[in-house]
Symmetry: C2
Subunit: 459 residues, 2 copies
């Protein structure tokens, strides 16, 4: 069976690439209002290609912001159902001057497609569509299992519409497992399933000192400084070694089990390469008693994403700032509860705000960590399919980031997600010159088809 799919994919390589290029030419930048019609156009493109691949009930669902696309094929009686998720919106391409070829004119160099969305996520999402097409083509128009598609155009701007849609359509979206290709291989050539994602509590702290900016000559020494107050507060969040000092922060943290830790030890990971090629700082930081991968995947964080206040132009201005704002997040790990973390954080802000300053906290988002059971039959089958196609054992990793839809599927549909991605660590998502390796595009189509085939057979 894989060989028939392989042959079909090989025969259609040019066409599959041309179609993806057409998709990539649509500048579906969800955050820019002037591209609203382009996001809609990308939705129509995806819908038409789902129809072409033989999916039924293809539907463009209007929302308050950008449309969702739904489709299904439900004729494999007695077989499991997989819901495929992906997104057809992209990040803005800025800074434009750093692109070697235009972001919305896909260009091939060294076996890679350079374009915004090539990897994140049009290229990966489109693999699912082509895998279905290939499976039907070699199987007399039938699929080995039931399939649903739910695609969105708001992933890069918070995914509000899909997070409202899922809980409101549980029956329609009912499935045994979800399939998402929006992640990457741990390293080139290594089949990789992601089985854990950190959660996130994202907040804004606003500090107010004097009623208005004051002259630092006239008032300096006696008037509180909102920025300095914020600095004093935030500096209390961690000790010099990177341990978070917010009381109770580690209370519910469940460390990874021995097997998982051991498997991480075997991953092809070099701390010095990670420092040099990815981080580019003078040294790494964080809890010294934890491995780097544990710090990234299994430990909560406290991060200041941005701060602004007072005079920030060129030259010198001697103000005591009245106001300052910082964006602060905490990544969560199993089994931390967002509500409990938020309460502890609010209390900590209150207890540590310096005299003369008033701080207010706004919570912008909150989601718990996600763990996927690696022994779930779908995960098991995915791992085997991955290994079969790529000829190496599949590794199980976690990701330090969050993929909100995985949480929505777990919470509202009660299903795990197979996070089977084919990006590479240097694909430059969200950056200029985003790329996706052509070989990985076809590898993904074949692996996804193989997984679906095997999962259909196994059940």
């Amino acid at each position: 069976m894989p060989s028939a799919v392989d042959a079909f994919v090989e025969k259609n390589e040019k066409r599959f690439l041309d179609e993806l290029f057409e998709f990539l030419r649509i500048p579906s930048i969800s955050t820019l209002p002037e591209h609203k019609q382009d996001v809609a156009r990308a939705a129509r493109f995806a819908a038409s290609k789902l129809s072409e691949a033989g999916l039924e009930h293809v539907e463009i669902i209007e929302t308050a912001k950008h449309p969702l696309v739904y489709a299904d094929w439900l004729h494999a009686t007695g077989k499991p159902t997989v819901i495929c998720y992906g997104h057809f919106d992209v990040q803005p391409p800025d800074p434009l001057e750093l692109w070697k070829s235009p972001p919305f004119e896909p260009t091939v160099r060294d076996g890679n497609i350079y374009a915004r969305g090539a990897c994140d996520d049009k290229g990966q999402m489109y693999m699912h569509v082509k895998a279905i097409q290939a499976l039907r083509a070699v199987n007399g128009g039938k699929l080995p299992l039931n399939v649903k598609f739910l695609l969105e155009g708001e992933e890069e701007v918070g995914g509000e519409s899909i997070s409202e849609y899922v809980p409101a359509h549980k029956e329609k979206l009912k499935a045994d497992v979800a399939l998402v290709s929006d992640t990457e291989l741990f390293a080139d050539g290594v089949p990789t399933l992601c089985v854990g994602l950190r959660g996130l509590v994202y907040t804004e702290i606003e500090a107010q000192g004097p009623a208005r900016d004051l002259h630092s000559g006239m008032y300096g020494g006696a008037a509180p400084n909102a920025i300095y107050g914020l600095i004093e507060l935030l500096s209390e969040a961690k000790d010099a070694a990177g341990h978070i000092l917010i009381p109770g922060m580690y209370d519910d943290v469940v460390p990874p089990d021995k097997t998982e830790m051991e498997s991480w030890q075997k991953l092809p990971f070099s701390e010095s390469e990670f420092l040099q090629h990815e981080v580019g700082a003078s040294s790494l930081t964080g809890e010294p008693e934890q491995t780097v991968l544990a710090r990234l995947w299994a430990r909560p964080t406290f991060e200041v994403h941005g701060i602004v206040g007072g005079f920030t132009g060129a030259g010198a201005k001697t103000v005591i700032p009245a106001r300052g704002v910082a964006k602060v997040s905490m990544r969560l790990v199993p089994d931390q509860k967002p509500e409990k973390v938020i309460a502890a954080y609010r209390q900590w802000v209150q207890d540590n705000t310096p005299e003369g300053i008033r701080c207010s906290v706004r919570v912008l988002s909150a989601s718990p960590a996600i763990s996927v059971n690696p022994h779930h039959p779908a995960i098991d089958t995915a791992a085997k399919a991955y290994s079969d196609v790529m000829g190496r054992p599949t590794v199980f990793i976690r990701s330090g980031g969050s993929i909100p839809i995985v949480g929505e599927f777990a919470k509202h549909l009660g299903i795990p997600t197979v996070l089977m991605g084919f990006g590479l660590p240097d694909d430059g998502l969200h950056s200029p010159n985003e790329k996706y390796r052509i070989a990985n595009y076809f590898l993904g189509i074949r692996t996804v088809a193989h997984f679906l085939d095997e999962y259909g057979k196994s059940a």
Copy 2:
């Protein structure tokens, strides 16, 4: 003699006010390139009024930026020479919507002139010109002493040109004392001489962490955060009570002597009114063992004027910032040496920069504190003249700010400055609805004339 001047001033009130209004209508905003011609126009206005007042050698001196104006009257053989300084440039009026009347259309309300520059410094500077005119008018065209004028149009943008001009023209500017009216009365009705100014070291610290902004999901926990590094560093600058922790910071600080401290105790100062009406915060801060006036006038400060880095837009973006910048200054008191403070500060930055972060320090300006000997004959005469005209004892105060020209005169001409100002604490310099009380304008003309007359007689 004062009565003759008083009579002359009273007779010419309308004319003196009309002239000032004409001066105030020139939008001589030195920081905005589109107002360059207006600054030049203000210089020509001042020059022509100096001529009208009987000054000689009136000169508009072109510089790299905005012109200076020089003039003199040197026919009082054997008498001392006073150099009068003032500035004819003004701050931008923004935010315009907060002005009750247009900033460059002087408007009288409740006995005040509302206009940008009314107090800072056109209104105060112009008092000197009118005082000279009055003295000559009642003295048969003669003056009781020699007078030089040096006016600038760059005070609000750093005063670079005058600080180059003074050391290059020591002989031309030679004088016994300088007179500057760019300060305020300690309280309404209280004749006030300022005899001390803090110095200032103004710097910028740039922190660099990772080579580029990183995704906080992928890297959070192990990658250094430039903003957090900057926060950790800056938080080490002061203890919770406001004492500066930079080693050696207090080594050369000379506390005010007993007499001066006692005189401060007698000033009409209410800490709670200062907090409520001027600062507007929940409490004052700073070294608890120092009085508020000592904190403002006689203690060094460490202030963060602004900070920026990372994501500061609306909503949430999960970056680990690669870079952050803070504007940091230290106010200096006698006898701190700027070079020594800068060296200690640089060393402290180096010693306290957290792992993974690189910090660079740029010094934008550095000037020492200034003390004027209150027993200098000119100061003594000024205090008496002030008391005579206002009918209350003159108080000696310091200011927590810096007036760079006072330092230039001390350093290059070796002379003290009489800081005799007539503004009020609520005049709103640099703010919308800047005002200057009409009565104080005439009071200033009379007091300055009286001081010059007495100083001429005394020597």
